[in-house]
């Protein structure tokens, strides 16, 4: 049977609050609790029922490789970015046209969404805002992008269109 060791106080710094707390718990005769710090999952599972586990180490699961989130995502991003060059050029030289306006109203919001998604991955990752926070933010971003797509479509159909807006605002 494996020997179960409690964490040695000598191994930890003597001045941390957690050490003082842990030693207070250990030293207190009236507190029926044991402080264990397990390094391995098997040690944690060996624990008998009278010891309450307070800190379980969960092994990190590497996500399965998926081309949709990997190289396909990269390809899609670059194709969109490249297509923006002739799109803006056509819109600048030909003026308003339903096809260029419609395409702009789809490609530019998706391009912006991909950029925002990269920023969320970099700065608002689960390690920083928690799993729930990251999921909330990601889904809010998707909702906002859908709203933007709807707004651009409405503007292109029931108003003057994106290119005309820029032209009129520039010449106002």
């Amino acid at each position: 049977m494996a020997l179960r060791l409690a964490a040695s106080p000598m191994a930890m710094s003597r001045s941390t609050a957690s050490f003082r707390l842990a030693s207070a718990i250990r030293a207190s005769p009236s507190l029926n609790a044991r402080v264990y710090f397990h390094a391995t999952r098997s040690a944690a599972s060996d624990a008998s029922s009278d010891v309450t586990e307070v800190y379980k180490a969960k092994p990190f699961k590497i996500p399965a490789p998926n081309q949709v989130h990997g190289s396909y995502h990269w390809d899609f991003e670059r194709i969109l970015s490249v297509s923006l060059i002739p799109l803006f050029a056509a819109s600048a030289f030909n003026g308003a046209h339903p096809i260029t306006d419609g395409l702009l109203g789809v490609v530019v919001p998706i391009h912006a969404h991909l950029g925002f998604d990269a920023m969320v991955t970099d700065y608002l990752h689960p390690g920083k805002v928690g799993n729930l926070g990251n999921k909330l933010i990601s889904w809010s971003l998707r909702g906002a992008t859908v709203l933007v797509l709807v707004g651009c479509y409405q503007f292109n159909t029931s108003d003057i269109g994106l290119t005309e807006l820029v032209k009129k605002s520039w010449q106002a």
């Binding site: 609050a17 707390l21 207190s28 309450t52 950029g115 108003d159």
Partner: protein, 184 residues
């Protein structure tokens, strides 16, 4: 472990220090109780409070090492930073405008092309030119630097010389085109 006298003094010292540290009333009650009294044993959630919660609180107060403030300013990361910043700013403008147009009728916000253009027309000429430059510069910078990124994606210009020469080209082109757009 330790000698009984040392253990007793450690116990009192630990108890006083721990009581000072423990903001939790539950912990204070347990730790400041007289020696020898029997208190109900703790449940798992309370033990988690006692041992893990203080560690989590400590992590929130720890400072992070300086990074952006101490790294030598270089064209490479400054331009990368501005590429992301200009992209984000333009996207915020697009999202704000499009969402305002989409939900405007629902909240009574008079937001359409006519009101925007007439509002712009009321501004003085200097404000209009300045405004156009402020809108055009992020756009031209992001566009030309985007082309630079696409050039890198073809595995070209990925040398120090290439990065710096394309970088200065982007800076020059974006400034000139933004000025040109501002005065149209």
């Amino acid at each position: 472990m330790f000698a009984p006298r040392v253990a007793a003094s450690l116990r009192t010292a630990g108890r006083i220090q721990t009581a000072a540290v423990a903001k939790n009333a539950f912990v204070r009650a347990r730790v400041m109780a007289p020696v020898g009294t029997r208190i109900l044993s703790t449940s798992q959630s309370n033990q988690k409070e006692l041992t893990v919660a203080p560690l989590v609180e400590q992590r929130k107060n720890r400072p992070t090492s300086p990074h952006l403030t101490i790294y030598q300013p270089q064209l490479t990361w400054y331009m990368s930073m501005f590429h992301r910043a200009t992209g984000g700013a333009l996207a915020v403008g697009l999202y704000g405008g499009a969402i305002a147009y989409a939900v405007g009728p629902l909240v009574g916000l008079g937001f359409d092309a006519a009101t925007i253009t007439s509002a712009i027309a009321t501004l003085p000429v200097a404000a209009k030119v300045a405004g156009k430059f402020i809108v055009a510069y992020p756009f031209t910078y992001h566009a030309f630097n985007g082309v630079r990124h696409l050039i890198w994606d073809t595995a070209s210009k990925l040398t120090l010389k290439g990065v710096y020469s394309t970088g200065y080209t982007v800076l020059g082109l974006s400034t000139v085109s933004a000025l040109a757009l501002a005065f149209i």
